[in-house]
C-alpha cells in the first residue's frame, strides 16, 4: 500500500482557510516525489460539501457536533485516533491558532516526533528535510525527517497553494467519531467576530506600523503625527497590542490582520515571523530599525539602520508636521 501524507483541513465559517490549500499543495509535491498519496482529514459538523473542494486523493470525513469549530480537545482526540490507526508517513497541520493546539497534543499523545514552525520541506540527497523558523525568525533549523510517522506543523503563507483539480475529485471515506467525544471536558465552544473597529487597517492605502522600538505609549503620538502627515493610519505589532497601547483592530500579523497597503512603514518592528505573515505582501515596505539583523529587513524594499525617533522627526520637519 502506498504511503500516505495526511493534511488536517482547517476551516472557519464554512470555508477551508488559505493555509489548508497551502498544506495540500505541499503534500502533493512531496507525494509526487515518492509515490505517496495525499489524504485530507476533514473534521466538523455539516462539512461534507467541503470534501469535494479539496485537492486530495482521499478525504477522511468525521462529523460530530463537538468538532464544529475545531475546538482543541475534540479535534486533538479525533486526529490522534485517526493517525494511530492509519500511521501515515507524514501528518501536516497548520501552525495556526487552531492547528498548534492539535499538532503538539497529538504528537505528544502518540509519542511521534514533531517539527513545528516549518517553512520548508524538501528532499535533499534522498533525505526529507524540514526547515523550522526559530528564535523570532533569526535562525533556521534544518531537521532530518526520519522514516517513522512524523507530525509537521507548517507556517501559514510559507508554501504555494495547491491547484484545484475539479476533474479528479477524491474518494470520500466517512469514519465514525471516536467514543471519547461523548465525554469531553471542553464545552460551549462558539465563535465571536470582532466588534466594529474605528479604523479598518486592511483597507488603508498607507500604514505606519509601530513595534517595540517605539519604547513607550507616549511615543505613539509621534507615530500618529507622522501617519497624519502621510495620510496613513497607525497599526502595530502584537506586543504593543498585548500591552494595551492600541486596540486589537490595529494589530498586524498572524493573530491579527493581514494587510496589503501601498506603503507599509515599519518603525521599530523587528519582524517576527508572525508579524511578517500579516504584511509581507504590501507593495512598498520601508523599515527603520536599530538592529541591522532584524528580520524585517529581509522583506523590506528599503531599510535604514537608524534611531527611529531621529528619522521620524526629520520626516515630520520635511512634511511640515
Amino acid at each position: 500500500m502506498a504511503q500516505r501524507i495526511v493534511v488536517l483541513v482547517e476551516h472557519l465559517y464554512g470555508e477551508p482557510t488559505d493555509v489548508t490549500f497551502e498544506l495540500l499543495g505541499l503534500a502533493r509535491r512531496i507525494a509526487d516525489s515518492d509515490g505517496a498519496i495525499v489524504e485530507a482529514v476533514l473534521l466538523g459538523e455539516g462539512v461534507r460539501h467541503l470534501a469535494e473542494t479539496l485537492p486530495a486523493e482521499r478525504v477522511i470525513l468525521v462529523e460530530h457536533p463537538a468538532l464544529r469549530y475545531l475546538a482543541p480537545e475534540a479535534t486533538a482526540i479525533t486526529v490522534t485516533g485517526l493517525l494511530r490507526t492509519d500511521a501515515p508517513r507524514l501528518a501536516l497541520l497548520p501552525n495556526t491558532s487552531l492547528g498548534m493546539d492539535v499538532a503538539a497534543w497529538v504528537a505528544s499523545a502518540l509519542d511521534w516526533p514533531l517539527v513545528a514552525y516549518c517553512q520548508a520541506l524538501e528532499r535533499r540527497e534522498g533525505q526529507l528535510v524540514a526547515t523550522a523558523q526559530l528564535f523570532g525568525g533569526k535562525i533556521l533549523a534544518d531537521v532530518a525527517v526520519g522514516t517513522s510517522p512524523t507530525v509537521i506543523s507548517v507556517l501559514a503563507g510559507a508554501f504555494a497553494a495547491a491547484a484545484l483539480e475539479p476533474a479528479a475529485p477524491g474518494t470520500i471515506e466517512v469514519r465514525e467519531p471516536p467514543a471519547e467525544l461523548a465525554a469531553l471536558r471542553t464545552h460551549a465552544a462558539s465563535l465571536e467576530r470582532p466588534a466594529a473597529a474605528d479604523v479598518d487597517i486592511t483597507r488603508a492605502e498607507k500604514i505606519v506600523a509601530v513595534g517595540r522600538g517605539i519604547e513607550s505609549k507616549d511615543n505613539l503620538e509621534l507615530a500618529e503625527e507622522l501617519a497624519q502627515a502621510l495620510g496613513a493610519v497607525v497599526a502595530a505589532s502584537r506586543p504593543l497590542v498585548d500591552a494595551g497601547w492600541l486596540p486589537r483592530s490595529r494589530q498586524v500579523g498572524k493573530s491579527g490582520l493581514k494587510v496589503k497597503p501601498k506603503l507599509y512603514l515599519a518603525l521599530g518592528i523587528s519582524g517576527a515571523p508572525e508579524h511578517l505573515e500579516g504584511m509581507k505582501d504590501a507593495e512598498l515596505i520601508i523599515a527603520i530599525n536599530k538592529d541591522p539583523k532584524a528580520p524585517i529587513f529581509g522583506v523590506a524594499d528599503y531599510g535604514a539602520v537608524a534611531d527611529l525617533f531621529d528619522v521620524v522627526e526629520a520626516l515630520l520637519e520635511r512634511l511640515g508636521g
Binding site: S108, K138, A141, A189, P194, L315
Partner: protein, 255 residues
C-alpha cells in the same frame, strides 16, 4: 487551591545570536537570557485570576540556564506564593518541549492544581508548544492563544484568539492547561528593591530531576536565513535618510 505557572528562560532574540561550532545549537556562552515574554503574561493572568479566586500561585521552572532564580524571585515579588526550581544534568543544553513537559508533568501532578498557565510559545519551540504537549501528558483539557480567562462554576471560561480579531469562546472543566498569548492587562512591574527584599525573605524550593528519554527532533544544522530580497539600505544621517524616503514616496506617488 492552586494555579501553576511555568516560567521559562529563553535566549533574548533582540540580541545578536551566534551558532555554536557544532551547528546544532546556539552558542550558549554568547546568549543573554530573558524570561519568555509570554510566560510573563501567563504569570500576570494567574495573579489576576488568583486575586479574585484566592488561589495560591506557584511559579515553577526548569533551570536549564543556571540563571532561573532571578525569574522565580521576581515572580514571588509580583505575588506568587511559592516557587519551585527543577535542576538536573541539563544545564546549558537546549531542552526540547517534549523533554520539558516530561520533567514538569509529575511535579505538576503532585501539586494538583486546578489550572496550569504557560506562555503560548517560546522562541526555541522546535518540537511544538508546551501547553498542548503538557496537556496531552497530563490528560487535561487545554486551549492556547488565550487572551482572557475567568474561573466560573468550577470551570475556566477562556477566550482563544484565532486571527483577524475572531475569537473562540470555550469552557474547560478543571484541571486544565492554558497557553497564554496575552494577559488581560500588561504584566505588572515590580521594583528591584522589592525583588531584593524577597530574595532575603523567601526561598525557592529545589527539586532534582532526571531526563530519561528524548524523542524530539534534533536539528542537523542551524543556520541564518539567506539574505535574499534584502532591503536596499539607506545610509547617512537621519536627515539624509528622511530626504531619501521623501524622494522615494514622491517618486511612487505616495506623497
Amino acid at each position: 487551591m492552586t494555579i501553576v505557572v511555568v516560567m521559562e528562560q529563553v535566549p533574548d532574540v533582540a540580541e545578536e545570536l551566534a551558532i555554536a561550532p557544532s551547528g546544532t545549537d546556539l552558542d550558549r556562552d554568547a546568549i543573554s537570557y530573558v524570561v519568555n515574554e509570554y510566560d510573563e503574561h501567563a504569570l500576570e493572568e494567574a495573579l489576576l485570576l488568583a486575586e479574585t479566586s484566592g488561589d495560591e500561585v506557584v511559579a515553577i521552572g526548569i533551570d536549564a540556564t543556571g540563571e532561573l532564580d532571578q525569574a522565580l524571585y521576581t515572580a514571588l515579588a509580583k505575588g506568587a506564593q511559592r516557587a519551585i526550581k527543577l535542576t538536573g544534568d541539563f544545564e546549558g543544553t537546549w531542552l526540547s518541549t517534549r523533554t520539558a513537559a516530561r520533567l514538569l508533568a509529575p511535579v505538576i501532578e503532585e501539586l494538583a492544581p486546578r489550572l496550569v498557565l504557560v506562555g503560548v510559545q517560546a522562541p526555541d519551540d522546535l518540537d511544538g508548544q508546551l501547553a498542548p504537549t503538557l496537556a496531552a501528558l497530563l490528560g487535561w483539557p487545554h486551549a492556547s492563544v488565550v487572551v482572557g480567562s475567568e474561573l466560573v462554576n468550577g470551570m475556566v471560561r477562556v477566550r482563544k484568539e484565532l486571527w483577524g480579531g475572531i475569537t473562540m469562546l470555550l469552557e474547560l472543566a478543571l484541571p486544565a492547561v492554558l497557553g497564554i498569548q496575552a494577559a488581560r492587562q500588561a504584566p505588572r512591574y515590580v521594583p528591584v528593591s522589592r525583588v531584593r527584599q524577597v530574595m532575603r525573605e523567601a526561598s525557592i524550593e529545589v527539586r532534582d530531576v532526571e531526563v530519561t528519554s528524548d524523542l524530539a527532533p534534533v536539528p542537523v544544522r542551524l543556520r541564518f536565513p539567506e539574505e535574499t530580497g534584502q532591503a536596499e539600505l539607506l545610509t547617512g544621517s537621519a536627515s539624509e535618510i528622511a530626504d531619501r524616503l521623501i524622494e522615494l514616496l514622491r517618486a511612487r506617488g505616495l506623497l
